[in-house]
């Protein structure tokens, strides 16, 4: 197993080098990192030349890439080109917000979709099943930001109008109350709902499908014939096999959540990673952008390895050597 992980990590290194090199090249041309230096006026040509030299922007792309790579390798994330703040600090400030949102929405998603998927698979073609299948396809087809607008309109605007306890529609906490856990949770309700509903729709379909496939198999019948409790059959025998495709999708989706949800974070004014990326995208601020993209790429690799490990636990027949 250790050997297998080591091999996977070694294989990932050239992959990450290619990804970072290509992205680095693309990001250079995205915008002008010096556009904010002149304040309101235009930056003078001689100042621009001086700044470019100071920031190392006058060197060829490949040289800059190698310098960046060397710095990353020794753990120096560099400073933002536009704000001069250290990138590591910027990310450390945003990442917890994103993680909070993402972990909460993943827990909600996993719990609800497992429940709904299994429940609906056990009642195949019933009214509930047909209703849920249709509903999940609708949820799957919904643009997330539109869902966010609807939720804001109903729970933020209309609830307020009707005098019901309405939900906050932006930010992490109420400035007048301060950052208490209760406030943060209260502010998380709508973003978490927005993020989870489409995922719940997608995952429910997966779980229902794989559960149906597994329930029909011989070993489940054997378990029934042995007189096992229905509960044990479902959750100890069937679910473990049925969970494999589910784990695969989760493993693919989870690392992307680290990058935050650009759109959802923008709508709900949630200071997370997605917004950080978006705020610096127009300025070609490569230290910040590359750090975020690298973080995502690395976690994709890590999660793929974790997913593979998970398989061996779910299905002991799967072995890696």
């Amino acid at each position: 197993m250790g050997q297998y992980v080591a091999r996977r990590v070694l294989q990932a290194i050239p992959l990450l080098l290619i990804i970072t090199f290509v992205l680095f090249g693309l990001i250079q041309e995205m915008g002008d990192p010096l556009s904010f230096y002149g304040g309101r006026g235009r930056i003078r040509p001689e100042d621009r030349a001086r700044l470019m030299k100071q920031l190392g922007l006058d060197k060829p792309m490949v040289v800059r890439y190698l310098v960046w790579l060397k710095n990353m390798a020794i753990g120096n994330w560099g400073n933002s080109l536009s704000t001069r703040q250290p990138v590591a600090a910027m990310i450390a400030e945003r990442l917890p917000n994103t993680l909070l949102l993402m972990i909460a929405s993943q827990i909600v998603t996993a719990a609800l979709s497992l429940f709904l998927g299994i429940y609906s698979a056990l009642r195949q073609y019933s009214l509930f099943d047909n209703f849920l299948t249709t509903l999940s396809l609708i949820g799957y087809s919904m643009p997330v930001f539109w869902l966010a607008l609807v939720l804001i309109y109903v729970f933020g605007v209309y609830f307020k109008r009707w005098g019901l306890p309405y939900l906050p529609v932006g930010g992490v906490y109420d400035l007048s109350v301060g950052k208490t856990p209760g406030q943060v949770v209260w502010h998380m309700v709508l973003p978490v709902l927005t993020l989870s509903l489409p995922y719940i729709a997608g995952y429910t379909r997966y779980i229902r499908a794989s559960m149906l496939e597994v329930i029909g198999q011989d070993y489940v019948r054997t378990a029934r014939a042995k007189g096992l409790h229905e509960h044990t059959i479902l959750y100890r025998h069937a679910l473990k096999n049925a969970a494999i495709p589910f784990v695969t999708v989760m493993g693919l989706d989870l690392p992307f959540l680290l990058g935050g949800a650009i759109v959802t974070e923008s709508i709900f004014a949630w200071p997370g990673m997605g917004r950080l990326f978006w705020e610096h995208a127009g300025k070609s601020d490569y230290p910040v952008l590359m750090a975020i993209l690298l973080l995502i790429s690395v976690s994709v690799v890590v999660f793929q390895i974790l997913t593979d490990m998970c398989y061996t636990w779910l299905d002991p027949r799967i072995r890696y050597s």
């Binding site: 992959l15 073609y125 607008l149 605007v157 149906l212 995208a281």
Partner: protein, 317 residues
Amino acid sequence: MAQAQAVDLPVRTRAAQTERPATGLIQIRWRLFQRHRMAVLSAGLLCLILAYVTVGALVFTEDYANRTDLSKGLQAPSWQHLFGTDRTGRDVLTRTIYGGQISLVIGLASVCISIFIGLLIGALSGFYGRWIDSVLMRFTEAALNIPQLFLLIVLAKLLGSRLAPIALFGRTFSSSMIIVIGIIGVTSWMYEARLIRANFLALKEQEFVTAARAVGVKDHRIILRHILPNTMAPIIVSATLGVANAILTEAYASFLGLGIQPPTASWGSMLESAVPYLQAAPWLWIFPGLLILLTVMSINFLGDGLRDALDPRSIQQ
């Protein structure tokens, strides 16, 4: 992310037992498709949406869609303006008609691009194997490692509006449309490539390919005339679902202000410009959003139905 429909089991109704046995293959496919009631309904709904954006354009001119009248700004839906008016007094209904054309064209065109790239990479990789396969698949993995929206932002900012507007079908499209189509196509071919590779891998070992080789058929002909037709069904399904995803992606891009530039509208850009009026003028975002939802949903249902109808395993039942 991964196409969630890929492993889903079909929703079948049990009306089929009394049917007379179908004879032709197309007839069988059609019967199977019909059993999927939601898919049939969706196909009808999709036709209605297509009629909406085409016939609607014959009723209202594009000039009318872009005509501003500040004295009529932000009017709620009425008989005169069924979907209300926006801040500058433009008729929202007419704008959803023309915006819908853009959204649908982007959806279709970008899928053509992504299928083309996916086919190229998947076919070469699956057919030739060995180092071509490893190189192309590593490349595919690299592309999959970055979330689509991030890649899309990078490319959109990179290309900006460096192209000139083009005229097509008597309408002038801003260059942003070409860029959006290209970008969505270039960022969404990876699943198609993997799917097509997997099919090619399986099919190239079959006897009919060996037979074709034995009589000296050239490689490109084997790929295009022998293997490709046999893998059409999953490609059609994946392309159908791809259109739905592309329409959604366009909406996201437009929502971030990266998509279609004014005065041309798309459903996504209409939503984006409606955000400041979330509370004051809900009709600005409700209607374009509903249209996106209905379109994407019916395409998804259609794709589901097509999969059931085209899946060779479902014929034996």
